[in-house]
């Protein structure tokens, strides 16, 4: 790929001068020096905490106690029987599904719109990306007000078309929808740009030959664009899974008042990460139990990501057009 830098310049004889030795030392060892900061930092603040989380989760470990008794799997067995934990798992999965599916479909559609001859191309792209750069905390607060029960704009609009006010914070499912709206608002445009980039890499003549064969626009989209986008879609799904299942800031700040870490008085929209915080930090400071939540969440993310990838592979593999298009591309 690249020319080897440590190959010695042939013009030089091999005098063992000081500068020569220095230069050999430089080419051999300085690469390690340059990459060390990352590995050092990741070891201390990334890998070690993750492993140590497991260690802590095997102990009865709280803020005040000094002797952290080893309790084995007790935190885990307690957690598996903890109704509040499963409640949070259901909330997280529910919010994940009703946010991710429409989000990725909308992003595909939006990318398809942006992939045309447009006036003010950059302007449109900026307009759809702008939610992604705004502060998550600020957005969560604003949406909390838009979805307010009494004076929220969403309920006011619903009222205009004759729908009764919805308790966006007190009804469990409604709160999932509101939080999903927030997540989608932030990420749809971003994913659309990712899809757009992949769409632009598809050779135009594929569409031309399909058009000559009489395939409609819609047919071309589903039989050429979507199958060829599969790697990008899988990438987006994995990223959405990792982010979506760890959802925290949006639901946390959607609720205010007393004990918002519970995600509403009856834990209507408490996610697993919020449940981890509730146990590990204020008010309980039970580090052992919180760490067990973290590890089960980690397992959940791995499982859901694997399932998602399987589903998408399956869906794509069954499209006959997918294979045809790939054959054409070679």
């Amino acid at each position: 790929m690249s020319v080897q830098l440590d190959a010695r310049p042939p013009v030089l004889p091999a005098p063992t001068t000081r500068s020569h030795r220095l230069s050999r030392f430089d080419t051999r060892y300085s690469p390690y020096l340059y990459i060390t900061p990352f590995f050092l930092l990741f070891a201390v603040f990334g890998a070690y905490p993750l492993a140590y989380t497991f260690w802590v989760s095997l102990h009865d470990w709280d803020l005040l106690g000094t002797d952290h008794a080893f309790v084995g799997a007790e935190n885990y067995t307690r957690l598996l029987a903890d109704a509040d934990f499963w409640h949070a798992v259901v909330n997280t999965l529910g919010i994940f599904v009703i946010s991710t599916v429409p989000q990725l479909l909308a992003a595909l559609w939006l990318a398809n719109l942006l992939n045309r001859q447009l006036r003010a191309r950059t302007g449109w792209r900026m307009a759809v990306l702008i939610p992604n750069v705004t502060s998550t905390a600020a957005v969560a607060i604003v949406f909390g007000v838009l979805f307010g029960r009494e004076f929220g704009m969403v309920n006011w609009l619903l009222d205009l078309i004759g729908i009764d006010a919805v308790g966006w914070k007190s009804n469990r499912f409604a709160s999932w929808v509101a939080i999903s709206a927030m997540v989608d608002w932030r990420w749809t445009g971003y994913n659309a740009l990712i899809f757009l980039a992949a769409m632009q890499a598809i050779p135009r003549d594929l569409y031309e030959s399909a058009a000559i064969d009489g395939a409609s626009r819609a047919r071309q989209f589903w039989s050429i664009t979507v199958p060829l986008l599969k790697p990008t879609i899988i990438f987006a799904v994995i990223i959405s899974t990792i982010g979506g299942l760890q959802l925290f800031t949006e639901p946390r700040l959607f609720h205010s008042g007393t004990n918002p870490i519970r995600g509403g008085p009856l834990r209507e929209s408490q996610t697993v990460t919020m449940y981890m915080f509730e146990n590990a930090f204020a008010p309980h400071y039970n580090f052992g139990y919180g760490s067990a939540v973290a590890w089960l969440l980690f397992a959940l993310i791995a499982i859901v990501a694997a399932v998602n990838v399987l589903i998408i592979r399956r869906l794509g593999g069954q499209t006959p057009g997918g294979r045809a298009a790939k054959g054409d591309l070679r």
């Binding site: 790929m1 990459i35 900061p37 760890q246 981890m276």
Partner: protein
């Protein structure tokens, strides 16, 4: 070269709708920020700016619960330090991975890619215990130091350096007696500038927005980042929404400014990264 489909009026109509949905919440944030505190109870809700912005700003900075000014200053310190550091260490490591030969290079690169998939947020509890030991709780190093270099940054710079830095140029510099450090500083860094700028912008925005980790480790209400100030405002017992929205608007303003000035580059960076990933 064949051409893209032409956009129909329907395309534009759909894009206008998408743009409206994107921009409206941000616009409305500024509307409420410029109105008096009774704007919240009005039916229909106000959609045009009022004349109360100055008074709201004064009340916001005078609010003794939110420490908003401290939050702004802290966030500026954290975001600029982290950005400078991430750009420096990522370009350096990216250069090493793309252009230098060393034992274990490919394996180490795979490790970096793998770290990008690990949800490190799940390590917050031991990280909190670690910060307690270091006596960094409630202090800015706790949010700065763990973020000083990222796998994402190293990988992005490595991808860019592979294609943007000419190997011949590096060779020539080596012939002239440059060590690897001078090659980095005089040849590689200038060539990496466009990508490094995008990385810097993305890092600045992510760091400015970060909520979860500062929320865990900065518990002293008198020493928040700006996002924690927003939380304090929003969780307050008595909610004065025009004041809260003034806070969210000011916290968003630097990001909007960066985006308006460098939006084209940011979009380019996101889309290039997508194709390579």
């Amino acid at each position: 070269m064949s051409r893209l489909w032409r956009a129909s009026p329907l395309t534009y109509a759909a894009l206008v709708l998408a743009a409206f949905l994107s921009i409206f919440p941000i616009y409305w944030m500024f509307v409420v920020a410029s109105r008096s505190s009774d704007a919240m109870g009005q039916v229909p809700p106000p959609v045009t700016p009022g004349g109360n912005l100055g008074a709201n700003i004064a009340r916001l900075f005078g609010n003794t619960d939110a420490y908003f000014l401290t939050g702004l200053i802290n966030s500026a310190i954290v975001a600029t330090t982290v950005t400078a550091s991430v750009v420096f260490f990522s370009t350096l490591a990216g250069f090493a991975f793309a252009k230098l030969r060393f034992r274990g290079r490919n394996a180490l690169l795979m490790v970096i890619i793998a770290t990008m998939m690990v949800p490190t947020q799940l390590g917050v509890i031991p990280l909190y215990l670690l910060m307690t030991k270091l006596n960094w709780n409630d202090r800015l190093p706790a949010v700065i130091v763990p973020a000083l270099v990222t796998g994402f940054g190293v990988f992005m710079m490595r991808q860019y350096a592979g294609q943007a830095v000419s190997t011949e140029l590096i060779e020539a510099a080596r012939m002239d007696g440059c060590g690897t450090w001078r090659v980095y500083w005089n040849v590689v860094l200038p060539a990496l500038r466009p990508a490094a700028a995008v990385l810097g912008l993305l890092t600045f925005m992510t760091t400015w927005n970060d909520f979860l980790w500062p929320y865990a480790v900065l518990n002293d209400p008198e020493n928040p980042t700006v996002q924690l100030s927003l939380r304090a405002l929003s969780d307050g017992y008595y909610q004065d929404m025009s004041q809260v929205f003034t806070g969210t608007a000011i916290a968003t303003l630097p990001l909007l400014l960066v985006f308006v000035l460098f939006g084209r580059q940011i979009i380019g960076g996101i889309m290039e990264g997508a194709v390579k990933a």
